[in-house]
Symmetry: C2
Subunit: 418 residues, 2 copies
């Protein structure tokens, strides 16, 4: 079948390009990135033109306003993409870095060197800027990449792929190091997920449906998170003003993202002091509250929460609120309904902070800070490729380092094993 | 179906036990390990008795001498198992350790804490000592484990599982933290590989057939290596006496293991000086050589190598030998036939050593040392759970640290995201 043949050839080409790109000098990679940023700006008109084709189709297909928004490439989008790529160029190159050397009793010197993973497949929805961001991060970390965006963005993504290819070739690197899957047919994804001889890692980015599809069909390791059901637990020892500021930020600052708070847990000793003012502030921001019976008793008139609310990822101005008898109940609730993504405690008690940090099973655990900080840039990793709630390889935001692995380097002077 | 129900319940129990064991104190885990070692010695007779049942069946089934040897538990086996477990008790506990803290411009303090992976499934063949070694490493690293040994060792493994359970319960830990699959039916493996809600990692240990079966059927991440086709490249700049010592050790010291050399690559500038003496030494140790045409021209009378020899993992006293025109040819041969496992160069030239280390894609790359050092104990990791040639999560020998992952810990004093 034709799709089969095309995808297999792309994967094979990517593997070969990965060998070249894994060994190329940092300066060469940085020059390619800088050229990519320049080309994006120079060829903005072409990108707009191709993007309009996607938008026209989206209009005909009756896509939602939100989807059309995400699909639209503007001058600002171009500037953000170019700026992001220039930032990636400025990051330190992880490839080839080595940590401490251990000296063995027989004199062997053992260390580890960071190396690229090889070929990374990214499967994503809608936003064309992912094409540029992902290509930039993969290139900088010495990996080849195969990009499979949503079919609704096909024209835009192909135009961006053209620019990425030009940037690579402008410094003598193979354009096959970053390829966009050129067809809409979903079969292409299945074929890609079967190329375990050529592709080393798959990263799906999008809704839970897409991610489950990828996990179930992939023979290649997958790094992903399904969803972010993040909690803030306001302990009875919390500074309540701080708790209010953090809770508000965690819910309202950008409600549509995975590290936004979905459920607020409040220690019952402070619930009566904390909740009324907090609720007023939420209501003034248009947040709909859904409370447990104890919450409803304190905040009469709010919607009672149902069983469907506790595991919900609203991604919207909706918040479930639960009053808990103690920290154990809060932690049990998080263990049951959390998604191992981001969990925060607000407390002024050392032992409780220590225990929460130690025992809560999430990729990022915070004390006295907003859940919104689970983000590669915010945590100092630079740009990120996504967040992993899988524990294998990477847990939490994935930056350049997480797109690499380490091999052992052993330097001897004739050692043999006895 | 009954197997289905039993395995699912084991997986569910393991997940629950993992929560307990992930949080328990180092001293408690060490006490359980020490008790396990003591119980092994005290109950040696029971183990022998159960082992004799397996041996009787093996005799009836006509298992090979080698397989019966691996299956046999002797007083020495018991002593080795007990000694291994006491060593694991003495290792530093990785769980809870934290690396450097990064301070962000807004004052957030960001670090990473090592945590267990959760539930690990080990699928292995024959040797009953793996049951004890794997249980010890998983317990020390805070993971629960489900062990599925070969059906030929079922009685022995059940007896060992009894001891592991007693040791856990002797310190108040749940016996479900280390369970042996109690039935022979291979369906049990398929059911285990589908428990992605409860099992976090699968490690298969055994022949390539078993490993391929596991990879193809698992919905859980798998860490594995298929085989070790390891090379030693003797550069023209090598100290030839050192090259002889290392090559001999890499092939002969223990030929049946994955880090033994399978192919010797020799730079043609030194082939005539190096090969005759090397060949005599190999022949005196009973090693059969299979040479490329250039090798056969230097060593008349040896078997010519065929296309089947270059990718072969002999695990035996057989060695393929190839004379190469230069280092590029050696590295191209390794890239084509190597298994990303262990590769060594013998050289006295700095630039060539540097280039080999940087460009050869293997979990362990050595300069002037034997391939036999790709081993957790030899590289300073302590005991190991196996060797990974997958690049995700771990690449190379997996010790206690590789059985853990890291979560982000973020300490703030009220930070919110702007």
């Amino acid at each position: 079948m034709d799709i089969d043949r095309i995808i297999r050839q792309m994967a094979r080409d990517a593997k070969q390009a990965a060998g070249v790109i894994s060994r190329c000098a940092t300066a060469q990679k940085n020059q390619a990135l800088t050229n990519m940023a320049d080309l994006l700006e120079q060829q903005a008109e072409t990108i707009f033109q191709e993007n309009r084709k996607d938008l026209k189709r989206a209009g005909e297909a009756g896509l939602s306003r939100a989807m059309v928004d995400r699909l639209t490439v503007t001058g600002e989008t171009i500037a953000a993409m170019a700026g992001g790529i220039r930032e990636v160029a400025a990051y330190a190159d992880p490839v080839g870095t080595m940590g401490e050397t251990r000296v063995r009793p027989n004199g062997l010197r053992v260390s580890k060197m960071r190396i690229p993973l090889g070929v990374i497949g990214i499967i994503y929805e809608s936003r064309p800027n992912v094409t540029i961001d992902a290509a930039g991060l993969c290139l900088k970390s010495g990996n080849a990449v195969i990009l499979r965006g949503g079919s609704e963005a096909l024209h835009s993504n192909r135009a961006l792929a053209g620019i990425i290819g030009q940037a690579l070739e402008s410094v003598g690197l193979p354009a096959q190091a970053a390829q966009v899957v050129p067809m809409e047919d979903r079969t292409a994804i299945n074929v890609l997920l079967a190329q375990e001889d050529f592709v080393d890692l798959i990263i799906p980015r999008g809704g839970e449906g897409l991610i489950r599809f990828v996990v179930e069909n992939s023979r290649i390791p997958v790094l992903k998170h399904y969803k972010g059901v993040c909690h803030v637990f306001v302990d009875h020892t919390a500074d309540l003003q701080m708790a209010e500021g953090i809770s508000f930020n965690a819910k309202v600052q950008r409600p549509g993202v995975c590290n936004a708070m979905e459920t607020l847990l409040v220690h019952e000793q402070v619930a009566r002091d904390f909740l009324p003012a907090m609720a007023r502030r939420f209501e003034s921001a248009g947040v709909e509250l859904r409370g447990c019976p104890k919450t409803c008793a304190i905040l009469p008139g709010i919607t009672p929460a149902t069983d469907a609310d506790w595991p919900a990822e609203y991604l919207d101005l909706i918040l479930a609120v639960k009053v808990v008898a103690n920290m154990e109940e809060a932690m049990a609730h998080i263990a049951r309904y959390g998604s191992n993504h981001t969990e925060a405690i607000i407390t002024s008690d050392y032992r409780r902070a220590h225990r929460f940090v130690r025992d809560v099973d999430a990729s990022v655990v915070l004390v006295n800070a907003s859940t919104r900080f689970n983000d590669g840039g915010q945590l100092g990793l630079g740009a990120e490729m996504g967040i992993s709630t899988s524990k294998l390889h990477a847990f939490g935001p994935m930056g350049l380092e997480e797109l690499t692995t380490r091999k052992f380097v052993v330097l001897g002077d004739g050692q043999i094993r006895e």
